[in-house]
Amino acid sequence: MGTRPAPAGPAYQPPPAGLGPARPPTSQRPTGVLQGWRPGFVLLARLDRLEVSGGLVLPDLARADAVAGRGGNTSADTVDPAGWVASLERQGYRRVPDDLDFECWGARRAGCASGCTYRDWYETDRVAGRWSEAWTRPKVLGSVIKWPVDWDGKRAFQQQVLKWLLNGSELDSDLIEAACAPAIEIARAYLGNVGNHEAARRLKHLVAQLPLEHIPSDLAPYAPTKD
């Protein structure tokens, strides 16, 4: 049938300026190469949108993708999602700075190659490659590609974002309660059936996300032990 370029799919986008590698011919592509495409993105946060994770109260991150026509982006917003960011900023979100340093996968992120501490660039089988959050990275297992997550790395980043949002002030206790409430509500749904193995497992996992000092007394028996 001959060698022809791959079909231009809906996600086929020009590469980000200065970052997009030339796409090698099919015959020269290594096996196990990352497939697909994922656009560049920007993370935003606001102080009144928090979540719990690993015993910490952290900002719930909003993501704006650099896809033209999506989320308020114009046709020019293929590298920086300015339209979508502006839309989120009107709701009270703030664009997270590119230079927040944190530790992820056992290394400091300051000075990383992508120029943004929370983003990494991977070459793929498309003209435009794949952007990923720094706390996920591809692991090629033959034809299978997994994206393991460094959850501690993500939380370390979110802690830096929270510090930046607070700018020296203390986190309001009402905001902490609001962040804990959804996980507490879901955890309590399991209290009536703790004899079920799956219910008990989920209950303990949810309670483990809450800060120890904010675990209500009815859920305290399911809190992780300190050792």
């Binding site: 049938m1 001959g2 022809r4 370029p5 079909p7 231009a8 799919g9 809906p10 086929y12 993105f41 935003l44 979540e51 719990v52 994770s53 690993g54 719930d60 991150l61 909003a62 993501r63 704006a64 993708d65 896809v67 033209a68 026509g69 999506r70 989320g71 308020g72 982006n73 114009t74 046709s75 339209g83 979508w84 839309s87 989120l88 009107r90 709701q91 990923s132 959050e133 706390w135 996920t136 997994k146 994206w147 997550v149 959850w151 993500k154 959804p182 996980a183 509500e185 879901i186 749904a189 399991y190 009536g192 059936n193 079920n196 799956e198 219910a199 989920r202 996992h205 949810l206 996300q209």
Partner: protein
């Protein structure tokens, strides 16, 4: 395009059928009442189905309460009127197929069932599916920027998260006539299905929960809580270890399209205009010999409209 060599055999009798893909589930999702309502408000698609809206402004009206005042006292400050404007800017999307002359010739007449006899016609037909996939994918991606959230990062999706997310949307007054469209990946469906069994009692035995045991092939899982329709879709967004599904009522998203007719010089297969918002063009490739390029193009945009009408459903990817 990757057509199997076996199909071009001139000796063996063959039939060309449409391949099964996970995207076939999108057809049910794009027809959901919430999606239909969103599309009805689209300025270009609206006239096709009977409605029209180019842009939308949100006016926070009717939510306040009057304050007690004494006669002769200083006037109270009036409530501010600051509508938020939403005007998505359509951008061009393209999808192309390269078809060798020999492929078109050898595959002629092999189309069966839902496929037309000429492979060129099949690619023309594909355009509407591509448009649906694109619009749906754009709308699902908006969830990553949603202000409201249900579920917990790093944990499996639960029945309670789904229920609480829906009740919060009802409480915000965000649920309209079309109810709520909800979509998660198959992992999220499995999470909830396992969860309802672990909850036992009234939940496990509820009629609506039995829908998890008879999921149809379309990807539509069922209707829950009296107004939430749940779908299993591949195009649900992901974000650093979590899947980001969506709960959406019709006020949550505004789409926009633009009709850009092809010029006279184009070999037109299907022309934009007259209610047709997709152009399909066939042209001889300038870089590849004996090859026809079939281009599907349309102009589209999607943007979040009323933040209260969208909730992201967060759960761990693996």
């Amino acid at each position: 395009m990757a057509l199997s060599g076996a199909l071009t055999s001139t000796v063996t009798l063959n039939a060309l059928r449409r391949a099964i893909t996970s995207a076939s589930k999108n057809k049910a999702a794009i027809a959901d009442p919430v999606m239909a309502s969103i599309i009805q408000r689209d300025a270009v698609l609206g006239p096709v189905v009977g409605a029209l809206l180019q842009r939308m402004s949100l006016l926070d009206l009717g939510g306040g309460k009057a304050t007690a005042t004494a006669e002769g006292a200083a006037q109270l400050a009036s409530a501010a009127v600051t509508p938020t404007n939403i005007a998505p800017a359509p951008t061009r999307r393209e999808y192309a197929r390269d078809l060798l002359d020999s492929e078109r010739s050898q595959l002629a007449g092999l189309g069966m069932g839902e496929l037309p006899p000429d492979i060129l016609d099949a690619f023309v037909m594909e355009g509407v599916d591509v448009w649906g996939n694109t619009v749906l994918s754009d709308i699902l991606a908006l969830a990553t920027g949603a202000s409201y959230s249900a579920g917990t990062t790093g944990t499996a999706l639960s029945w309670a998260a789904l229920q609480n997310g829906y009740l919060d949307m009802v409480n915000r007054g965000a649920v309209g006539e079309a109810g709520v469209f909800a979509a998660v990946k198959v992992k999220g469906i499995k999470d909830v299905a396992n969860d309802v069994l672990s909850l036992g009692g009234a939940v496990q035995m509820a009629n609506q929960v039995q829908q998890f045991m008879e999921v149809g092939k379309s990807g539509y899982v069922g209707s829950f809580f009296g107004g939430l329709r749940l779908y299993m879709l591949d195009d649900v967004a992901t974000s650093g270890g979590d899947d980001v599904g969506v709960m959406l009522s019709e006020r949550g998203v505004l789409t926009a399209h633009k009709v850009i007719p092809l010029p006279e010089s184009a070999t037109v297969l299907v022309q934009a205009g007259g209610g047709n918002w997709i152009s399909r063009e066939a042209k001889r490739s300038t870089s590849l010999s004996a090859t026809t390029r079939i281009e599907t193009a349309f102009w589209t945009a999607s943007a979040a409209a009323d933040p209260a009408a969208m909730t992201k459903l967060v759960y761990v990817t693996v």
